[in-house]
Symmetry: C2
Amino acid sequence: MLLYNSPVSGNCYKVRLLLAHLGIPVERRTLDVVDRSNRPELLGDLNPALRVPTIVLDDGRPLAESSAILWYFGEGTRFVPEDRYRRAQVLQWMFFEQYEVEPNIAVVRFWFHELGGVPAGQQSVYESKVAAGYRTLDAMEKYLASGRQWFVGDGMTLADIALYGYTHVAGEGGFELDRYPALQEWHERVSSAPGHVPITA
Amino acid sequence: MLLYNSPVSGNCYKVRLLLAHLGIPVERRTLDVVDRSNRPELLGDLNPALRVPTIVLDDGRPLAESSAILWYFGEGTRFVPEDRYRRAQVLQWMFFEQYEVEPNIAVVRFWFHELGGVPAGQQSVYESKVAAGYRTLDAMEKYLASGRQWFVGDGMTLADIALYGYTHVAGEGGFELDRYPALQEWHERVSSAPGHVPITA
C-alpha cells in the first residue's frame, strides 16, 4: 500500500495517525507541497483534485480525500461508532473540519510554516482566515467545555483524529491556543492515547 | 422532523432532494442567508457552525453538515453502495464537493444571485474563486468524459446528489457550463431520474 504523503500536511498526518493506531503499515512517497508541477503526472490518474493524501491500495485501486481514506480504514473498528446517529455525528465533525478548520487554520499555518509569512497581496485574506479560524476554535471549545471528553460518544473516533490533525499545530500559524483550556485538554487526551504518533513521525 | 432551510442554498437542496427520492416528509423553517444575526439564538444548541441545513430528528436530536445529513438518511438505501471501497469513493466525492465546489462555485453564485455582484474589496478573491471553480468543473468533466454515467458505480449515489446541488446552478454565478458536455449530460441524467425535484421546489 502506498501513501502519497507530505510530512507537514495535517491531512496526511490524520491518515498516518489512524493507520498507526490500527497497526497497518504503509509505504510513503513524499510530494512537494510548494512546487506542485509534477502533480498531474504523479496523481492525474489517481485523484481528480491532485492533492495529498492519496493512497493506492494493495490491489492498485486509488482513494483520495483524507476523511474518505479515514472512513475506509475506520469502518468496522472502534473509531467508527456502530450507532447510525453517532456515525453521522462523526461525519458531521469531519465535514466541519474540512470546511471550517482546514481552509482557515491549515492555510494560515502553511503560510507561516512553509512560506515564511503571508503571501504578497493576501493581507485581507489572511485577516479573514484568522477571524474564521478563531470562530472555529471558539465553536470547538464551547462544545468540549460542556463536559465532553471526545467529540462523539465516549471514546476516540475518526472525528477526534480529523479535528486533531490541524488544530494541535494551530500555534504554528500564530493562533493562541492558551485561550482554549478544554481544547488543550482534549489535545492531551488524544496525544496520550496508546498507539499515538506525532505529526513528525 | 424539522429542516432549518434556505430556498437558495444548494446545501439545503441536497437534503431536500434526497428526502424527496426517499419519500420522507420534512417540515421546513426558512432562515435568512444574508442577515444571520438570529443564528446563535436559533441554531446555537443545534449546530456549532450555525449554518443551514440543520435538521432536528423526530426524537429531538440535531444533525448538521449537509453531507452528514445525507449519509444519515442514505445509509441502507440504494444511494450508499454496499461495497466498502465504493462507499469510501462516495465520501471522497462528497468531501471533494465541500472543499472544491462549495467554497468556489457556491460562493460566487451567492454573490451574484443574492448580493447582486462581487462585494467591495473582493475582486481578487473573486478571480481566484472563478479560477478554482473552473479547475473543479474541469476535473469533474474529465472524470465523467471517460465514459462514466454516475460518479460512483452504476447508479445514482449520494455523490451525485451532493455534486449536483451547486454545479447545476453554476451558471447563476457566471460559470459557462456549455464548455462541459459530459457534465451537462450528467446534469440531465440526475434531473430526469424518477422522484427528482428541482431546487425551486
